[in-house]
Structures are given as structure tokens and as C-alpha cells.
Symmetry: C2
Subunit: 420 residues, 2 copies
């Protein structure tokens, strides 16, 4: 029997100081970029009424939610995604306003999923929602912003795959498939399950070119040349319009100077059914899952009685930090500069000196724990503290560099302006 008292809950984790500091830096850098595009941060609650994630909205699979009750007996769920909450927020507070809205958020999401491959069940997302604009400029803006956000985190080697749900939908339409068949097809393509895919298509009477398109879809990804290739499978307007849209988005992304991070994937048939247009996913090395997911969802807001087009993305901060760590990309974090130790008789001097140094921007830890000098040195080194100050007398301190062990003496009055 495991000792529950010393463990985090299955799929959840403690984040150590060094990683928390790095996470803070990444989040700050990403939010700075997002803010620089005019996106305003909102905070929505950690849980919502379960109905917010109603299956008809396609926002989440109810089985994968953490569900519970409050004192009022309402069924609640920890959010698996912040987008439905922002949509609800938008509908509540801005239904009478005109013009676009640009919102962003930073917060944790929760999946009560089957814990294969050690997937996290709680992780942090930073995301944006661009509401009220249905054009290629908006699609391109959020994709460029996703790319610039990843760059701001320090990541350099990554790709953002762009697709469009209407390419697949147009083919399905043309083939005249019923809903159940569509769903099975979507699943098989998403899983790249070629054999079952071919078997299934054999069972249906479908035009040859469409059948070939479905079979090729899982492989229909790559650089811009794939756009031309996608056109060869069909002439139906829905699918062709989808390709045209992606081409326009790509043209704009060149102006953003981020096209080298872009590739295309028509086999991306999102399981999140609220997507309605251009969709994208970002991948890097050394982590299995995507690090950013995004796309257009023009029908979601309407389900909250506020009919407006929208597009957005969410970056998985913890996965991103994993990738940065594994790719050995350095993230500069603040560490403790100084351990200040003293004998009881100099307590007052020590406290005043520490306070003065902190006001000057230094990080100073007071040695108030009764350790000997030798123990303090060991402690400081173990915590990677840069230097140690030892109060010698009321005027003088000894400075010790904890990396080199070099020592020097200095006047306290030289360290503080205007005396203590």
C-alpha cells in the first residue's frame, strides 16, 4: 500500500523551485508578447457548471472531467480547457458591445483521463482568444502570435502545422457519408490507422478520387507544396475554399516573417469538434505531444447566445518547459545572492544590513538558524547561494565567495547608503 500522505494524486506533480522559477519566466515572456498584440488577460474560475462543457458544444468528453458537487447540489467540473469559460465570460459581459475582443489567460486545466504514458492530469495553459473577426488576417495573427510566443520562451526548433477542418468536411460531404461513418473515419485518420482505414473505405461506395484522398490524408502533410497536392484530389468548393484560406493565411504569415516555422497537415482532423476553420498544432523535439493547439471556432459563442466568430490557441507551459529543459535551452532565473550570518550580539546590525541590501535589489537570506560557520557554508553551497557575509564587528563584514572560497573584508558603511 502506498503512503498517500507523501504522494501527489495520480497524474499531478509538485514543481520544484528551479522549475517554478523557469515556468514563471516563460509565462511572463509569453504574456508580454501576447499583451503586445493587444490581448487583455482575464481570469475565469477553476471550475464551472458541468453544463458549460455540454457534449453538443464539442468542448470536452464528459468522461474525462473531474466532476463534483457544491453545497447547492450543482454538478460542477474542473475546467479541461479555458476557451469555453472565456466564451461564457464574453457572452455574459460583452454581448452588447461592438468590435472585436482580444482576450488571453494563464491558468491550469484538468483531465481525469486514463493515465497512460504518464500524461499529466493538471497542467498550465497560456492562451488567447480573438473574438469577432472572421478572416485570414485573424487566423494569421493568432498563428504568428503562437510562433512568437514560443520564440519568446527560448524555443527555436519547432514547427506549427496548419490544417483546415473544411477540407475533410468537404470530402465527407462529397462522399455522402453519415455521421457515424464520419466519426469512425475521423478517428482512423487521426490515429493514422491505415489498414483499418482502407478496410472501412472498401465497405462504402465512394468516388475513386475521394477514396484516394481519405487514404492519403494521414500522409498529406509537409511544406507549402502540399497545398497544390491537396487540390488534386477534389473540385468540391468547400475543400477548395479551405485550401484557398490556408494559402492566404500563409501569405500573411510571410509578412509576419514566421513562415519558416510553418508546415501544413490536412490529416489533422481535430477531435475537439468545436473547431470550424483553420486549425493548427505546434510540435518540437523531445516531447511526444503538441505544445500548442489552436484554431477557429465560429459556432461556440453562439451556444452561449452570443453569435460571433473566434479563433485562438493554448500553449502547454509544462510541456514547453520540458522541451526547453531537454533541449538544454538556458532560462535565466533569479537565485539567492547572499547568505548573511551573524552572532547574536550583532542581530540588530544584521537585520538592518539585510533590509538595506534587499531594498537595493539583492536577495539576502538571514542565517538565523543557529548553524555554525562551517555548517552555514555547507548549507549555502547546497542551495547554490553565491556569497556569504559574516558580520565581524559593528563596522565590518567578511565577504566569502561560495564558489571560489575567496574571502575579503569590507566596511558595512560601504554597502549601505546613509548608514544603517
Amino acid at each position: 500500500m502506498k503512503n498517500q500522505l507523501l504522494h501527489t494524486v495520480e497524474g499531478l506533480k509538485d514543481i520544484h523551485p528551479i522549475d517554478t522559477s523557469k515556468k514563471n519566466v516563460i509565462e511572463r515572456n509569453i504574456l508580454n508578447v501576447i499583451n503586445s498584440y493587444g490581448y487583455e488577460q482575464v481570469q475565469t474560475p477553476t471550475f464551472e457548471y458541468f453544463d458549460i462543457y455540454h457534449y453538443k458544444r464539442g468542448t470536452a468528453d464528459g468522461k474525462n472531467l473531474y466532476k463534483f458537487f457544491n453545497r447547492e447540489g450543482d454538478i460542477l467540473a474542473l475546467r479541461p480547457d479555458v476557451t469555453p469559460s472565456v466564451a461564457r465570460y464574453m457572452a455574459t459581459f460583452y454581448s452588447h458591445t461592438r468590435g472585436p475582443k482580444r482576450f488571453c489567460y494563464l491558468g491550469n486545466v484538468f483531465y481525469n483521463n486514463e493515465n497512460y504514458q504518464g500524461k499529466l492530469r493538471e497542467y498550465t495553459q497560456a492562451g488567447v482568444e480573438c473574438i469577432g473577426i472572421e478572416n485570414a488576417e485573424a487566423d494569421a495573427e493568432v498563428i504568428a502570435l503562437a510562433i512568437n510566443s514560443l520564440l519568446a520562451s527560448g524555443l527555436t526548433k519547432f514547427k506549427v502545422d496548419i490544417g483546415h477542418v473544411a477540407y475533410f468536411n468537404g470530402l465527407v460531404n462529397e462522399a455522402g457519408l453519415d455521421n457515424d461513418t464520419q466519426e469512425t473515419l475521423r478517428m482512423l485518420i487521426d490515429d493514422k490507422n491505415y489498414i483499418a482505414l482502407e478496410e472501412m473505405l472498401e465497405e462504402h461506395e465512394i468516388k475513386k478520387n475521394i477514396k484516394k484522398a481519405f487514404i492519403d490524408l494521414p500522409k498529406l502533410f509537409g511544406d507549402a507544396s502540399i497545398l497544390e497536392k491537396a487540390k488534386t484530389y477534389t473540385n468540391n468548393k468547400i475543400s477548395i475554399d479551405a485550401i484557398d484560406r490556408i494559402e492566404e493565411v500563409y501569405t500573411i504569415l510571410k509578412d509576419y516573417n514566421v513562415s519558416k516555422y510553418v508546415s501544413f497537415d490536412f490529416g489533422m482532423v481535430s477531435k475537439l469538434q468545436y473547431y470550424t476553420g483553420t486549425i493548427f498544432k505546434g510540435y518540437t523535439y523531445d516531447v511526444g505531444d503538441s505544445i500548442v493547439d489552436g484554431g477557429r471556432y465560429d459556432n461556440l459563442l453562439g451556444t452561449y447566445s452570443y453569435d460571433a466568430p473566434a479563433t485562438g490557441f493554448a500553449i502547454k507551459i509544462d510541456e514547453l518547459l520540458n522541451a526547453l529543459t531537454r533541449q538544454k535551452i538556458d532560462i535565466e532565473v533569479l537565485t539567492v545572492n547572499t547568505l548573511l550570518v551573524y552572532n547574536k550580539g550583532h542581530r540588530s546590525t544584521a537585520i538592518k544590513l539585510a533590509e538595506s541590501l534587499r531594498r537595493q535589489g539583492m536577495t539576502v537570506e538571514l542565517g538565523i538558524n543557529g548553524l555554525s560557520t562551517k555548517e552555514s557554508i555547507e548549507y549555502g553551497k547546497a542551495k547554490n547561494i553565491g556569497g556569504m557575509m559574516m558580520i565581524k564587528d559593528s563596522d565590518t563584514i567578511i565577504l566569502k565567495n561560495l564558489s571560489t572560497d575567496e574571502e575579503s573584508t569590507t566596511l558595512i558603511s560601504d554597502l549601505v547608503e546613509g548608514g544603517l
Copy 2:
């Protein structure tokens, strides 16, 4: 019937952009101060095994928790307090290390309480835990840090009341009261229910001076003179040692130059039973509840098989923001500088200009929503955007100050270094 789809769950709220920005600033300033004392930030999960909050630890009332199950059938609870998680974290990862540990955190906590007075059921806490040091210096450090954290948020008018659980415990000991009576007494004193308090004390045979102490306890608060007064009620060592400890803490707080924010309260008999020594609460005007709670809890870590003394505090960020807002204390936040509008023909120029300005640190929103110039001006003013840029031709833009409506013309090449 209320429309659940447009509402947050009872007791939870959406936080608008202006308040989210202010919250970010407050949190950052507070964490900077906390870090400057050598505290390292950790992140623990949003929920834990319910057993972590076991009643014997006195960390929370199980009735007030949001409880639920995961797929494995474990009973889980949203954290009502981060301290038990940090204690668990400490016991898991640092049980074999020596020396003190200073941890801090920022995160949301959850109370499934009865929603009287519109109390929030989810709110953000920033807190510290100073582990492994049992002396007045550590007590004073966390109190000084709490005060400096509040000052860093911009708050100036507040008091931190200091008490000590052993003063009350010593009296209870002396009076020889059983546990149930102690609890009733604690509750009546905490509620300042004088009449029921006197009635209850009448029912027990208690020494006259002790009875008077219990009756006076709810009023035993004020400046340092209250320390002398507290000594007049008893000679029992436990209570007197408690006063001596507070006096030493107060002496140290004078060195920290924060004693003017300090007062004393012996009627503070915390309901959180994990406190074992010096305790404190911070109050300001215009909000009913405390904005910071803290104190010493020397027995909690032992319940996770890591026996170590500890002290800490948690600041209620949302209450603090409320107080700052009501006290009209300005918090400077970043707003959108510029709305950049263009005709379709200048899209490429507009995007390149926007990207260049963003790299220079400006906040630029692109007018890609097809609004007319007049509508864009209205939109920009409604969003409090400072100025508008309109691309006139490929070399020139018109700058419009949205506060004064003044216009000027400038060369694009003057705004970007090295051309687009």
C-alpha cells in the same frame, strides 16, 4: 430558473482585464519581496488526497472542502490552504537534508463554505513557509516579510495583530478545563460573544483571576502596553513564556523598522488548530476579513513523518486588491498603446510596422476587423487605447491621439530602425 450557461458557479467569479492586470502587478511585487528574503517558489497540485486534510492535523474542516473522485476511486479535495501541501512536499523531497528551508507559493484555494456575506469560494493566496527554525528571529522574519509584502502591494494603512496560542492554552491548563469546554470557550472568545462567555464561565469552578482573564480576552488587544496587561492575569509559565516570546519578536521587528504596523491581540484564538506558537493576522480598512493570516505550526510536519518546526503566512490577494481599489490606491498597469489601421492594399506594410513596434516594446493592436475609420476611433476610445496609426501610403502614417483627437503625419521610416 437561472441560466447556468451565463453564470459562474456560486461564490466564484470572473476577473476582468483591468483587475487581472492589477492582480498580476501585486503578485509580482509581493513575490519579488518574498524572493529577496531567500524564499524559493514551489508549485503543488490544485487538489490532494482528502487524507492530507485529515481532521487530526487541524488543517481544515472536511465539510468545507470540495471533494470528488478520480478514475482510481481515490477521495480527493481541492486545497483549502497550501500549507499542508508544502508540508507534504517538504517531507517527500527534503526529509534527508539539513538546515532550514524557505518556500513560497502563489495559487488558488477553495472553500465549499456556506456562502453568507457573498464570501468568495475561490481566491488566490501568496504565502511563505519558513521551515526548520524555532526561534523569535524566524517569527519576526515572517511577520516583517508579511508587512513588507503588503507595503509592496501599495497598501499603507494596515495593522498586523500578533498573538500567541500558548497564552490561552496556559490559562486553559491552569483552569483545568476539558477539551470540549476548551473548544466552546475558544469559539465564544473568537466570536466575541461576551454574554454566552460569562454564562459559560459561571458554570465552571475556575480561579477568579483566570475567569477574569477569559472574560477580558476578547478585549485584550492594542499597542505594546497590552503585553504588560496580559501579565497581570496569571503567573503560569506557559502563558508568561508566550508573552516573553511576543516581546522578543517585537524587539526584532523594531530592527526591521516595521513596528509601527504592529499591534497585539491575545483574544486571537485561531480555529486553525495546527498553529502552535506566535500567530498573526493583518487587517486594513474597507474589507471585513483579514488580508493576511499566519503563525507558527511546529507539529504539522511531524504528521508527515518529518518532524520540524515551521512558521509562515498567506496573503489573500483578491481581498488585498479589493482593499487597494476601495482605498483608491493606484496600481500602474500596461495598456494598449496603439491601434494600427490600414486599407487592404497596405496589409504587408501594416503587419511589418506592427511587428517592428512590438519588438521596440510597444503594444500594438491591428485593425483587421473591417471597421470604418470612425468605428475604429470609437472602438479605440472605448478600449482606452492611447493612439491610433492610420497608414496613408507606403511611406507615411497619420498619428491620432485618441485623448485629444490631435493628428500629425510622420514617416514610417522614422518609426522603425533600418526600414521594414
